[in-house]
Structures are given as C-alpha cells and as structure tokens.
Symmetry: C2
Subunit: 354 residues, 2 copies
DNA sequence: CTGTTAGCGCGTTCAA
DNA sequence: TTGAACGCGCTAACAG
C-alpha cells in the first residue's frame, strides 16, 4: 500500500539478544545504561546494536512509559525574526534535555489554535508552550491539558491562569518608557496603534502609553487610539486616519514594527518629514526597523532568551523541579532610540526575579 | 517523578467495549468509521467514547501499523514570510490527509541539518520535506531515508537525486528575465550578488544572469559577481565593493530581497540615486520590498502553493500514487517591476508540467 | 456485520 | 548481575 513500506525487517532488542545469547531484558537495560549491568556486557550490546543497525523504537517505549518526550509549541505565525529566535532557543534547551518539539501556527485565529491544541493533546505531548492568537478570547481549549496536569506555559502573548506560568517582558513599562521618550522629544499629540486588546501584550502597552501621558499632564484623546491587526495595510490606514485629524499628531507609537514602518511610509508619501514633523516608534526591533529611513525607534527583547527560559521552565516542571504555581517570569527589554542622530541604548531593565 | 503524571487511568477501547458489551475490535473499527460496522453500533461507540473521555492512543497504533502519519520538515530558517507561507500550505494539505508535521530549522548549517535529519529518522517520520541549508555540500545524511525507501522531497533549495522529487521554480529563467529587464532599462554594468553556489537556487540564478548578459552582448566581468550569505551586513559590504570599482555599476541584482534592500540603503547613504544612478533588483517579493524607497523590483513566487504542492506530492507517494521516480515540479514565478513609475506584472509562466 | 486471537517492541516486576 | 513473563493499547488476520 504505502511506498514507504520497507521490506527489510526492523531490528529489535530481541534480535540483538538472540545474536548475543542473552535476554531481551538485558539488552533493554544495557541500552539505557542501567547500573546493574556489567560494563563488558554493555559494550557487547552496544557493539552488536551498532553492527545490526538497530534503531530505538520510540512508540513501544511511549506505549510503556506513557511519556512522549515531546513538547508542543503553538505560535501565531512563523514569519518573524523574533519567532524564529524563540523557536531556536526552545529547540536548543529541549534537545539538550532529550525532548523534541512539535511546532504549529495558529495563523492568528482561535479556531486554528483550538485544532492545534487538540492535535497536541492527542499526540500526548508532555507539555505545551503557547503564544496566543489575536482572536483568542478564552483558553477553554487548553482546559484538557490543565485538567490532566499537563504543564502549559504561555510566552509573550500570555494569559493569566493559576496553573500556567507566563514568560513575558514588562510590556507596560516598555510602553511607558517609549511614550516618555517621545514626550521628552517634545511630542504632545501622540497616537498609539494597538493590536487586539484581548491580547495582554497590547492591552498592557496601551496602559503604559496612557499612564505616561497622564504622568506628563497630557490628556488622552479617543482619537489618539487606533486598534487594528498591526499589518502593513493597517499601518497605511492608521496614517491616513492621523492625517485626517483636526490637529495633526506629532508622533505615533505602534505596537509592532511592521505597522510602524508601514505607517511611517504612508506619512512620508503624504509629505510629512520624519522625525521633524512626526516621530515614529515601534515595538520588537525587527530587522525591518533598521531598513526604513529614518531607522525606527523601537523596543528590543531577545526571542532566543525567551524561548530558552520558556522551555527550561517547562522541563523543570516535567522533572518535578520548581513549583507548580503560576509565576510570571519577566525578561529584560531595551528601548532602542534611532530617531535622533545618535543611536544608543537608553535603559536596561533586569529580570524582575533577580 | 513527573509533574505530568496523571493518576486517573486512561480509558481504552477495552473500557468502552466492556461498557457496551461488544468486542474491542468492533470498537476499533467503529472509531475509524470502518464500512463494515452498522451505523447504530458506530453511534453507540462514539457516544460512549465521548462519555468516557476516551482519547486515541497514537503510539499503540504506530506500534502496530509501523506508520506514524507524521511528516518531517527541515527548513533553513523560520523567519521569512515565504517560509511561513510554505509551512501553512504544507500544514493544510497534510492535516486534510491525516498527517501531522514536525518542523525544525537547520539555521543554515549542514551540521544542524544532520541532527535534524537524524531526529526525524528516529521519530520514524513517514516522509520528509527539505529545503537545504547554505553550508550543505552533500546529502549523505539523508541516505538512510533513501535506503529505507522513505519518501524525501526537496523544495525551493533543492538537490537532484534519482529518488527525490523536487518542487521548485525556474530560477534560471527568473534570473534571466530580471537581468533582461535591467538591460532593457539601459543598464550595462550589472552586479550580481549570489548566495552560496552549492545551493542550486543561487547557482541557477547566476547562470540565468550570465546568460542574459551574453545574449545581449555584454561581457561578464569577474568584478560583477559577489558571493556571500545574502544577509544585511553582506548587502552593505556589497554596496561598498560596488562603490570601489573603477567603473561604477549601474545596476545590482541580488539573489534575495534582504540583501538587495541593505545594499540599496548603503548605496543611497553614499549619495547614489535609485533608480536614476543605479537600479536595484531582488528576489522573493518579501514584504520588505514594498517598504524600501523606491520599492524593490523583484521576483515573486508563492510559498503557500509550493508548500501545498510539496506536501501533496509526498502524500501521493505515501499512498502509492504517482511514480517513485524523481520529477522536478516547476511552479510559476512573476517578475514584479517596481523601479519605474508604473507597477505591473511583466510575465507569467505557467507550470512546466501543464 | 461482529468476535477471537495474536502480536507490534519495549520496560518492568519478580525470581534466580 | 541476568532472565522469564506479562502487559502497555491497538489492529489485522481469520472465523463465524
């Protein structure tokens, strides 16, 4: 039926046991370096296994042990440098600990996210790492993991839940800093472009933005808030909205770089000078931020670190290390200023847990 | 030991068989919609399964059937819109056919690619979809798949092998068209920035470039070829190289958009006007191409389609449909001209197999 | 249309 | 230090 059918029989521990005139149990133990097996016997087992081209059967083991040594990862999209870094970090830690990753993208919809979660559940992943989609409103589709005590960790686009650790940055603070920076540059009419507000990252960034305004005696105007999907088209529309306002804004702070860049381009196409007429700020420090002119002021946080920390936290839970209680692990971020002639890092925040 | 240990016993087909006073075999058949089971029986089985919270055990099935319904995917990096699209296409087709994807990135090194291949092999994937890393020089690490008759398909960055179908675009033709376009615009001293030439995509693009020059009576100059990693830094260096040449080039055609954009920026920083002094062309139609100013002329080909076709080809092989012989499936590409005032699609090439 | 039987390859008692 | 025997949960004959 299948073109993949191999006619050659797969070699098992029985085969190598027979060849060595010992029992399969001994082979099984020898292969996993069981202390109660004589070294010489182990050597013979390994040599014979090598000779016969033996390969370990994961499924038989999973069937017995009821663990899969597999971690499920669900992300919104795989198209950013940030996500690529996150996954590389996760893969590094996981593989070192003997785990494999199953990666899938929700494409920003809760519907797909549900399917992915179901798939992972059926594949009996030992744990799950999730960054939520735009349209996700609740996490009922993850309830089965929680009920079964399967560790579930949210990273970046997180969700507060008593059983689910979060690995995030301080979005509130980052946005506060960015807004404060713009204000210090003399901006007073600052527009904020936010993503779906049911995602904590965007709600928090908005909150940080508003608080910075308030702390500087600037009233928040309803017109100064745009909520959209943070895509290229959204950035263009946002710019047009800005241009249509009675009082022209003197700055825009978008919740991601893609949108900030698209917005900047459209503003420039309409004759505004950046940063003289209007300053533009983004979030994420995507490579695109250094490509636009002028380069984009933005918030940097390293995905690799976030991936490593998330994976490490999960594996600790799997090994029974660390508490089962939810904890928010807050990683560093940097404000990267590129709208002056000088580029420099302004601040650096240490991990709150230190 | 593990925090994931569930104390509640997992429900099996035996449990639901017992509850229904039928045999486990019937349950097994009913669950997979076997035609030889009465509908009413099926209904009872499904209802009972639902009631008892049954979940299918993949491993037991894998152990029996020796198939995993899993497809391995190895890509260089997960950071481009193109790759994201490819994977979405693959996931769509695969899931429809009941397969899951295991995705991993080689991070452009053969070493990591080898590890990934080994992991996939040990996880007994039914088939593999690969786009090769920069530094890969041979495909010995895939030999075990080939020897075992496990379908292996290369896409985009392909490799010719009698047993491995390729899913690609006509890179030679695309580069030829791009170069011809530049020549028609009046360019005579065109620089080409290529990636590692052991990757067919870059070797073929170079060849198409050179052939277009030849066909238009332009001699190829050694100075006009730059080979690098096609990153941002490489684009900057390429621009500096161009500026240092005795005769200043009037065009540059890079093998990807990232590098083209970086190069363009550096040229502009050095006072050149684009496209008046120098025209810039890229490859891939990455979103970044519409962000730089002026927008980048480039080659477009849709990743989603490539992912779908690659997955479909693989699944056909797994189902014994289609020939085992290698075949190159060549998908369409489009030359997207953005260095004139008018934007338009110039040509459209149909799938060669049609 | 349904039941019986016999493994898939491995880990893990319990004995020796 | 090693072996015998059983079962993890499911599917594929073969019977009826």
């Amino acid at each position: 039926m299948s073109a993949a059918n191999n006619n050659e029989k797969e070699v098992t521990i029985y085969d190598i046991a027979a060849a060595l005139n010992i029992s399969a149990a001994t082979v099984s133990r020898g292969l996993k370096n069981h202390p109660a097996i004589r070294q010489t016997t182990k050597d013979r087992i390994f040599a014979q296994a090598e000779r016969m081209g033996y390969r370990f059967n994961t499924f038989a083991r999973n069937l017995r042990t009821k663990r899969t040594y597999t971690i499920g990862v669900i992300v919104p999209r795989l198209n950013s440098m940030f996500m690529s870094d996150v996954l590389a970090g996760m893969e590094k830690i996981s593989n070192e600990a003997g785990y494999e990753l199953i990666i899938s993208q929700s494409l920003e919809t809760m519907e797909k996210e549900k399917k992915n979660a179901a798939t992972m559940f059926n594949n009996r992943v030992d744990g799950v790492l999730v960054s939520l989609a735009y349209t996700t409103t609740d996490i009922d589709h993850f309830r089965r993991f929680i009920d079964k005590n399967i560790p579930l960790i949210f990273f970046d686009r997180a969700f507060e839940h008593p059983h689910c650790p979060n690995v995030v940055i301080d979005n509130h603070k980052a946005a506060y800093e960015m807004t404060t920076h713009l204000i210090r540059q003399g901006c007073r009419r600052i527009v904020h472009i936010a993503g779906h507000l049911n995602r904590d990252v965007y709600a928090l960034r908005l909150k940080g933005f508003q608080e910075a305004l308030a702390d500087n005696g600037i009233t928040f105007d309803e017109d100064a808030l745009i909520v959209n999907n943070l895509g290229i088209a959204d950035g263009v529309l946002a710019a047009q909205h800005m241009l249509s306002l009675p009082e022209r804004p003197d700055a825009v702070f978008a919740a991601n770089d893609t949108c900030a860049v698209a917005c900047m381009q459209e503003l420039k196409r309409n004759g505004l000078r950046v940063p003289d007429d209007v300053r533009v700020a983004g979030f994420n420090n995507d490579p695109i931020a250094t490509v636009v002119e002028p380069n984009l002021t933005t918030i940097d946080y390293r995905g690799h670190e976030m991936g490593e920390v998330a994976a490490k936290t999960l594996i600790n839970l799997l090994n029974g290390v660390g508490d089962l209680q939810a904890a928010a692990i807050v990683l560093r971020h940097h404000l990267i200023i590129r709208d002056s002639t000088q580029r420099k890092k302004l601040t650096e925040h240490e991990n709150k847990n230190n």
